[in-house]
């Protein structure tokens, strides 16, 4: 186990981070000018890290496959960002945010990392406001908050349903300032194809210029991977189309251990699949669960009539509706964590109560919120005897102000007006808690290779709470990595620029070119999408919301066979030395075909249910997840050995010094 040293500092939990910052080595400003850092990915974690590193004086090169750093998929995050500000005076604190996050993650995250996350959360809000991020405000001019799942306080800061956009544009603006200063060189439409190791240390990357097809070498003293999650292994997900695991996977192949790949988040409120042509799924923010009530009909015959189009949801009487989250989890109701809400939706739909053509949808209903807000508004306007229509009109306006863009998005996709009829929603793949294993400094098992944001595994355990992804991305990028990386770079003040004409770069470039040639040489039976969709089906059916040993074993075999078929028979049109979107996709799918197998192996290995990982064999009598703390209270970190199924398992035991492990209950 020597491989996995978490490097968690000694001392009381609340003092670890301060003490660590005092203990680690620094690089003086004159020396920072001689040190180069590569940051791959320009979402919240990558953009904030590169801006901050450049402000500190390092020379930064950023890489993104998009045409602008601003387009990274953090931009699509809707609901909000958590911070333990306790502006609402509702009893919030750093400890509570820490505790909620650990519990929400079903006790599978690293205590010290999560506490640090909660500590720096407040600085994120201060920093973003200073940058001009226009958060929602109350009439008194102060910042507004809302609630998210799995917690009982209001600690979520937001900018309508576009919080991710505003935070990312804030980080992008900080990047732009450094680009203008010449401290960041931004490479857009570039994809990292491999990590280059010199004497065992990460010393650069091989990238493909996606416009010209040119293969480029870039050297640096450290490489930061902030490349997001791998949910697109399911083909259908709420991720953007280009999201991929390539950078993380290539680092894994070079020796970085990959942790807990089976921990993925299935988000409960997404727009259901409409047909075989579907290319992606769209999220409806969890913030909607503040005001929306989730239900299905109580009677099977009503559900069937709805599916056949003979009955409308608005015709079902109140007493014939089953608000199943409120029924099963009275304490948290519609605001249970995502894993719990998703499984509950699947349970009802599997039992035959689904409400769309395919039987895979439940209702998210705003009627009572509209009427409640409307009545409040009528009262404050002095309209004591307002009729229902007036109340409804007033209420709809308030709901529109809160969630207008989400309702509009829903209407565009589904062609139904959610103010008048309940939304139909169903769970979909949304986030990856698993990722590259990192120590307390966010360094992977490859010296000098760091992972930040969704690309690492450390903070969310087996289930992430809503509004915590934005918090983690920015915490890593603004407040953690720029400081911890100095401890490593202090060794490099005399190294000088990295020479990219070395044997290591020659070999890596050659391997990348060979891989591209191999992808171009398939026999041409099927398109890349054909294989991606097949992989997605296997993943969703056998590694999705519920899993069992038999199907996981099948998945391992099926994915291996599909991968073989892919290399033999894929058809990639065009040329490797020019713009070629099919080749880009092929490279990404090739890596998903390896990751998927490791994912299934990891799920097979974990003989317990926890968070988003639900094994049918391990559940309580009332269908809740049954953890096995005695045998599985560890991070499963996998070492690459060729075929994914041969990966070697390393365990990092999770130590909880400050909290007691309990069965998670939201009842």
């Amino acid at each position: 186990m020597a491989l996995l040293d978490s490097k968690v500092p000694q001392g009381p939990l609340a003092e670890k981070w301060s003490k660590h910052k005092n203990d680690i080595r620094l690089v003086n400003p004159a020396n920072k000018r001689n040190i180069d850092v590569i940051v791959v990915g320009t979402g919240l974690a990558g953009a904030s890290a590169s801006a901050t590193l450049a402000e500190l004086g390092y020379n930064v090169k950023t890489f993104c496959y998009q045409d602008s750093p601003r387009r990274a998929h953090s931009i699509a995050a809707q609901g909000g960002v958590n911070a333990a500000k306790n502006y609402q005076g509702d009893g919030d604190s750093v400890y509570r945010l820490f505790y909620d996050t650990i519990k929400g993650g079903d006790y599978r995250s690293r205590e010290a990392n999560v506490h640090r996350l909660a500590e720096v959360s407040t600085s994120i809000i201060d920093q973003c406001v200073a940058q001009g991020v226009p958060f929602a405000r109350e009439y008194g001019g102060l910042l507004d908050n809302r609630s998210f799942g799995g917690v009982q306080v209001s600690r979520t800061f937001y900018a309508k349903g576009q919080t991710g956009q505003q935070l990312l544009l804030g980080a992008y603006s900080a990047m732009n300032r450094q680009i203008q200063r010449g401290k960041i060189k931004s490479y857009t439409r570039h994809e990292m194809m491999d990590l280059v190791l010199v004497d065992g240390k990460a010393r650069g990357i091989i990238a493909r210029n996606l416009v010209t097809g040119e293969i480029e070498r870039h050297g640096a003293h450290a490489v930061v991977l902030a490349t997001g999650g791998y949910g697109n292994v399911f083909f259908l997900s709420t991720y953007c189309m280009g999201a991929n695991v390539m950078a993380a996977w290539r680092a894994h192949r070079r020796g970085a251990l990959f942790a807990n790949p089976c921990f993925t988040q299935i988000h409960p409120t997404c727009i259901p699949v409409s047909g075989d042509h579907q290319s992606k799924l769209t999220l409806m923010s969890e913030s909607l669960r503040n005001d929306g009530r989730i239900w299905v009909p109580k009677k099977l015959e009503d559900a069937q009539a709805i599916r056949e189009g003979k009955l409308k949801p608005t015709q079902i009487a109140e007493e014939d509706r089953d608000y199943y989250l409120e029924r099963r989890y009275p304490a948290f109701g519609n605001l249970v964590p995502r894993d719990v809400a998703s499984r509950a939706a699947k349970e009802r739909c599997d039992a035959g109560y689904g409400v769309n053509k395919t039987g895979e949808a439940v209702y998210l209903d705003f009627d009572s919120a509209i009427m409640r807000y409307g009545r409040e508004k009528a009262n404050t306007m002095g309209l004591k005897d307002a009729d229902d229509k007036t109340v409804r009109d007033l209420g709809e306006k308030i709901v529109e102000a809160k969630y207008g863009n989400l309702f509009q998005m829903y209407e565009k996709i589904v062609d139904e007006n959610p103010y008048k009829t309940p939304m139909k929603i169903y769970p979909a793949v949304h986030y990856a808690m698993g990722g590259l294993w990192v120590d307390y400094n966010l360094m992977t098992t490859i010296p000098g290779c760091y992972a930040a944001g969704e690309a690492n595994f450390s903070d969310h355990g087996a289930n992430r709470l809503g509004a915590s992804a934005l918090m983690q991305g920015l915490a890593d990028g603004y407040f953690v990595l720029p400081y911890t990386i100095g401890d490593y770079l202090a060794n490099d003040i005399q190294t000088g620029a990295i020479d990219t004409n070395s044997v290591a770069f020659d070999e890596a470039e050659k391997a990348v070119k060979e891989k591209l040639e191999r992808l171009m040489k398939g026999s041409g039976q099927h398109s890349v999408d054909y294989y991606h969709k097949k992989l997605g089906k296997i993943m969703w059916n056998k590694c999705g919301m519920s899993r069992n040993a038999k199907e996981l074993q099948e998945a391992i075999e099926e994915i291996a066979a599909l991968r073989k078929d892919f290399y033999e028979n894929v058809r990639v049109t065009g040329y490797a030395d020019s713009k070629n979107q099919e080749l880009e996709k092929a490279g990404r799918v090739a890596d998903f075909l390896e990751l998927g197998e490791l994912f299934a192996l990891d799920a097979f290995n974990r003989n317990e249910s926890c968070g988003g990982h639900f094994r049918e064999e391990y559940q309580t009598e009332d269908g809740e997840a049954l953890r096995d703390d005695e045998n599985y209270r560890y991070v499963a970190a996998w070492e690459y050995k060729g075929e994914p199924k041969d990966a070697v398992l390393h365990k990092e035991e999770l130590v909880y010094e400050n909290i007691e492990l309990k069965t998670r209950s939201y009842k």
Binding site: E55, I75, Q127, M409, T573
Partner: protein
């Protein structure tokens, strides 16, 4: 339904482009416009032909990656809708649809429907920020109360997704709506006032040097903007600019 497509094909920036025609059958109303193009590409690949390249990523109307001019309109016929959010129910069986890239001197074509919008990044780099370093020690977020009216107006300007439809819609290929949205976001906030003068001067200078045209108040940009960014922002930027020049 059956759809007839006329699609702009162009090998690279240096080649001449041309339209090609394609006929599609079995297009469903629930498909998004880009899913319809996925269907086209799948069939081209199966015939061993090169698929049509187009920019797209989030497919939920927020990243600003998708572009293209559909039947003469940037992002197609629906108001306040990006191409990726457009659905085939907006078209009828038998319709002909013409698809072109965004056209502007400052947005050179890279391939087929993909254009280079890096000029937008350079305008932002010229001044689209507040100069504050990450320290963990700025003032508390609630130490600066901001009137809700201004906070909301700033937010509305900040919702620009940087897609470039304003430029494509404008007969002058002007980037004033885009630039003014960023200028406005900061001009409306107390944090942003400090550098307001240099910001507007630098951003406008960069905008001009990229080869975008000037604003003649036609308003096509606001009409075609998928996020409904208001023309008021251009008026505000002009005011800011005149003030800055006068200070000069």
């Amino acid at each position: 339904m059956k759809i007839h497509l006329k699609v702009w094909r162009q090998k690279d920036a240096n080649s001449r482009g041309h339209f090609e025609s394609y006929d599609l059958d079995h297009i469903e109303a629930d498909m998004s416009f880009l899913e319809m193009l996925d269907v086209l590409n799948e069939s081209l690949i199966n015939q061993g032909k090169e698929p049509v390249e187009f920019d797209h990523d989030c497919r939920e109307g927020i990243c600003g990656t998708c572009s293209m001019v559909i039947n003469g309109k940037p992002h197609g016929p629906q108001k306040r809708t990006t191409t990726c959010q457009l659905h085939m129910r907006s078209f009828k069986d038998g319709d002909s649809i013409t698809i072109e890239p965004f056209r502007a001197q400052a947005f050179p074509v890279i391939k087929d429907l993909i254009v280079d919008r890096s000029a937008f990044d350079r305008i932002q780099q010229a001044g689209g920020y507040i100069s504050v370093n990450t320290s963990g020690r700025p003032v508390d977020a609630n130490a600066i109360p901001i009137e809700k009216e201004y906070a909301d107006a700033s937010f509305n300007a900040a919702t620009c997704i940087g897609c470039g439809a304003c430029v494509a819609a404008c007969k002058n290929a002007s980037a004033m709506l885009f630039t003014s949205a960023k200028v406005s976001q900061y001009a409306l906030l107390p944090q942003g006032r400090v550098e307001a003068t240099t910001r507007v001067l630098n951003m406008v200078k960069q905008m001009d040097s990229e080869g975008f045209g000037n604003c003649t108040n036609t308003g096509a940009c606001e009409v075609e903007c998928p996020k409904g960014i208001s023309l008021e922002n251009i008026a505000r930027m002009n005011r800011e600019y005149l003030g800055a020049v006068a200070k000069g």
